[in-house]
Every structure is written in C-alpha cells, then in structure tokens.
Amino acid sequence: TPGMVSAGEKYGFGTTATAEEIQGWDIDIRPDGKGLPAGEGSVADGEELYEQLCATCHGLFGEGEGRWPVLAGGEDTLTEERPVKTVGSYWPYASTLYDYIRRAMPFTAPRSLTDDQTYQLSAYVLYLNEIVDEEFVANKDTLAAVEMPNQEGFFVDPRPDVKNNRCMKNCADPAKLQIVGTLQGVTPVGHFVEGADAPAASHQAQEEKERSL
C-alpha cells in the first residue's frame, strides 16, 4: 500500500564504493599512524623542497613572511601575553603535519605533492622546530613515533565552565564600574562614520595599533 514502508528498510540509494575509489580519496592521517602511506622523506630532501615551495610564505626558518603563518619557534610562549602557537610550540601530534600538508599545502596548489615529498616536508618542518635532528627520515613508523613537546597540553572541553547568576538589582557597585573604550582606527567604519575610512583598517595601521588576536 502506498504510504506503507517497513521500518528499518534501507533506501538503497547510492552505489557501493570500491576499494580503489576509496583509496584515492582516503587521505587522512591519525596520530596512531593510521593512514600514513608507504614511502619516506629525509630532512635534507625536505630542506630543498621547502625552500622551493614553502619559504616564500612561511619564511626560510618557518618564521612566516608578513602575515603568513609561522611554522616554527614559539617555545614556552603559551602563557605569555602573545603566545606564538606553532607546530613546535603547540601541535600535539606529528601526524597532523603530514595530514595537513597533504590536504592543503602548498596553499596555491593543494594535493600536488607526492607521498614522499610530503614525508620530506614533514621531516623538515619538524627539524625547523628542533623536534627531530638532521638525520631524521620520516616514514609511517618514524613519523607516528615522534613525540611532540605539547602533546600533553590538551584536555577535553569542560564547559559550561562559568556560572553567572540572574541578578536583577544591585548587581555591581556603580561607583566602581571601569569602562574601557574601543581602540579606534583599526576597524573599517568608513561606511557609517564620516571621515573614518579604509586606511584605518590597513595592515600598517593594524601593526601599529592592534592589541590582540
């Protein structure tokens, strides 16, 4: 009867994926090494490739050109006012490096690297961060075995972590309120503030004035 479909019945839409189809798209890597392909790459080969493909944005030493991401350094800055979060200072797992370079880098030509090249670049970025030495050769065993400095630095979200009360009256001492104004001239407000304009939102203005992020 129309309108009568047995519970639990499958729709049967789509086609079964073949092993070959899956393999081409199954690019992800996990901390336990699952997903790492065959092949290998040395720090030395990585250096050459990095200078060719990566240094223009990320800097020769991973220091980052202009506002492009910094890839190395930042040790012991995580409690500072301006933490520098890099592969070395922040990332918990080396597998993430292989995974991310493979899926997203180089920025302008994602998915263009071979598996070996990705091992080379992973090895070199680890080397730039002084996590491996110059003899290091990355492969699916050695990379999965790398221990990252900040591996223990993460814990599961404990929110809700803050408990406000629904106070309605006398919730604060009006005499003691501290009011801090906006840092002016760093956001583009030319569309509604007369006189204000885009220059205020340029990178230059920001470098002088930016407080955070």
Binding site: E21, D28, L78, F107, P160, N164, V180, V189, A201
Partner: protein, 400 residues
C-alpha cells in the same frame, strides 16, 4: 535599521517627490516582470553587504567576512549576506560531478550523487551558524568599532537536507565506530572529527538554504550542518565522511579551534557555541537619532537549545529588566528580543544577557577572563556593552 545612518532631512526638504507633489515614480512605468529572472536588492541598499577586516588574515582566500547584522530584521539571514569563512576560497563545484563518500567502519561503503541524496526524505530546519571566533578580537580589549565586526560572524537560515543519521543507517555503522571525519572538496580539504553521538543526534547533510540550493559561499552543492556547534565543524563542499574509532586531531582541531587557557594548556573539542546575545538597536551603526520612545532590540542564540529569557541593563550591569522575546523561539536559532523604553539624551551603558532553556546565564567578560585568561581566541560569548552618548552615538566599550 538599514537606513538609519543616512540623513533623510536635507535632500528631502527640497524634493519634488514629497506630498502634495506626485513623486516621479508615480508618473512613469518601471521594468516589467522577469526583467530580473533572479532579483537583486534595491540600488539604495548598497551599503548592506558583507565586510571583512583586512588585517585579520594574510589575504582574502583564507579569511572571513561578516554579515551586516546591524541592518538585518527578524531571524532569517538572506543568502547573499551569510558570512563567509574560507581556507582556500570558494570551490566552484559541478553538481553533477560532486560525490559524497561514506566509508570506514561501516558495513557498506557508499558513494552518493547529489541526485541520490536529494531522493532521501528531506528535513528543513532554521538554525544559526556562528564562527567560534565571533567576538574573539575582543578578549583583551574592545577594538571593533561596529556591530558587524563584533558579532557578524553569525547567520541563521532555513537549511534543507538529510539527517546524517539516515545516511549512516544506510551504510551501517559498525559497533566500534565512535567518531566521524568530515572532509571538504575545496582546496583546503577542511576536515573535522565529529563524535558519533552528535552525528546520530541532530547533524544534517544539507543542500539547500532558505529554499534554494546552497550558495557557493556556503558549500554548494553540499555541506554538513552541526546545529549549535562552531561553524567550522559544519564542513562545506562536503565530499567524505569516514567512520572511525578515534578522533583524528587534524590541523583545524589542534592548531586551530582549540582554546588556550592562561596556564598554557588548551581545551580541545570545544564544540558548543554557548548562549550569547547582542543589542542591534541601538549600536554603533544605528545611533539614536531622536529623543522619545525607542525599541531596544537585539538577537540571542544558544547552541544548547532555545532561548528562555533575555534581560537588559541600562547602567552597565548594576540593574536589569526583563526584555520580551518576539517572533519564533526555535531550538538553536536566532531569537529576537525587545524592550520599548524612552531616551531623552541620558547616557546609557546598554547590555543584554541571555538565558537558555538549560538555565545557563550568559556570563560577564570578567567571569570569562577569570576562567580562561585572554588568549583563548574562541568562544567569547560574554555580555556585550554599548555606551550610548548624549548625542545618541553608540560606542563599543568593555565594563569591568
């Protein structure tokens, strides 16, 4: 409102278009039907657009833009104004050649065409999407001079698609399956680990927004939608879902989208967008232009469910009055609040404080900073403050 910042008086007074005159548009014909088969906003609404803050990112292809929430009404964000967040720009995908692969710990790995997906019974739900970095530029101090930049990484649409649960049942998740990796088809291949629990709860695989197919900016032709969770988990241009027994700890859930605490340790898998609210009238872009009665209006939202109550303070949080919720009050959707009062030039320190159905009360900035320091970038859902000046101008301030 969309037009409050414009001066009406000057031009109008001298105009031939005011009563008792017959306006020029009453003396002529306009364009006919299907002159625009797909319509556009009025040319007079040019200022209602997405905007970015250039210095936030190295360049625009891995960047973010904000919705002009100062100009929006109700709870629906029109598709052309939904905020953007890209890691490799907008993918231009041929829908006929797009595929969704589900594999990993499943009985039967499947590849779906768009046509396959659109054959499943669909559901349509109004849900907000918010970037967890919304407001994040303000942890250390107020630096955004406009509502669009303090809270604009936020939109709310009616989304249509298939519950992920249905697709997972189709593939048959094995008992060991506990996490799902969602991956995009764009150049960044953006990837996030989603707990199976969420996937079986309310996660959707969506192909339409506000009635029509997804916009390229929102993941055309297919995206994930994790209602109430940080926007980046709702992978756009979705092409692959792998079921696994553990999370993947990819770049967007380690290097990014983890929340660094004052002690140097960081929270991971901080998924929920907690209860938040902001006053949209008045705001820096919508100053008070005249004395008299005024509707204080704003929007509230919670990643944990429905908004139950919003309170408003005029004195920087010393005392509070309940506002009214207006319109639809939906689960994990923008909800409007309103309070009619009088303004006669007195300075105000305006705040809104939302409470959701779990009883969670939107915290003060002081409370958040005390718990988390100022380096956590994400999830800054604290009570926001506007300073209304004697001339009706509105400034973004922080009160402690």
């Amino acid at each position: 409102g969309a037009m409050t910042a414009t001066t009406f008086a000057g031009t109008a007074a001298a105009s031939k278009n005011l009563p008792p005159m017959e306006p020029s548009w009453g003396r002529q014909l306009g364009a006919g039907v299907v002159d625009k088969p797909y319509g556009q906003p009025s040319a007079y609404e040019k200022e209602v657009v997405r905007r970015t803050v250039p210095w936030l990112t190295a360049e625009s292809i891995a960047s973010i833009s904000m919705t002009p929430i100062q100009d929006l009404k109700g709870i629906i964000t029109p598709n052309g104004l939904v905020f953007e967040r890209y890691h490799a720009g907008v993918a231009q995908i041929k829908p006929e050649e797009h595929r969704l692969m589900i594999h990993g710990l499943v009985e039967r790995p499947i590849i779906f065409t768009m046509e396959d997906l659109m054959r499943f019974p669909s559901v349509s739900e109004i849900k907000f999407i918010e970037c967890p970095a919304n407001g994040g530029m303000e942890w250390k101090g107020a630096q955004m001079e406009a509502l669009q930049f303090t809270h604009g990484m936020l939109s709310c649409c009616e989304w249509t698609g298939v519950p992920l649960r249905v697709l997972l049942e189709e593939a048959g998740v094995k008992p060991e399956g506990k996490w799902i990796l969602a991956e995009g088809a764009d150049g960044s291949h953006m990837s996030r680990s989603i707990p199976l629990e969420k996937a079986l709860d309310d996660t959707l695989v969506v192909y339409a927004q506000n009635g029509e197919m997804l916009r390229p900016e929102q993941g055309y032709p297919l995206r994930l939608l994790n209602p109430g969770w940080e926007g980046n988990t709702s992978i756009k241009w979705l092409r692959r879902l792998e079921v696994g027994d553990k999370p993947w700890y990819h770049r967007e859930e380690t290097s990014k989208y983890t929340d660094l605490m004052a002690d140097g340790r960081a929270r991971k898998f901080t998924f929920v967008q907690e209860t938040n609210s902001v006053i949209t009238n008045p705001c820096p872009e919508n100053p008070i232009v005249k004395s008299g009665l005024i509707e204080i209006e704003g929007m509230a939202w919670s990643g944990r469910g429905k908004i139950k109550q919003v309170d408003i303070s005029f004195d920087g949080g010393v005392s509070w009055v309940p506002a009214n919720l207006k319109g639809l009050v939906l689960d994990k959707a923008l909800t409007r609040f309103s309070l009619v009062t009088k303004w006669d030039g007195q300075p105000w320190l305006l705040q809104s404080r939302a409470i959701d159905e779990t009883g969670y009360v939107q915290p003060t900035l002081g409370q958040l900073r005390e718990a988390r320091g100022t380096n956590s970038i994400y999830h800054k859902n604290s009570i926001h403050s506007w300073k209304v000046e004697a001339n009706g101008g509105v400034k973004n301030v922080q009160i402690s």
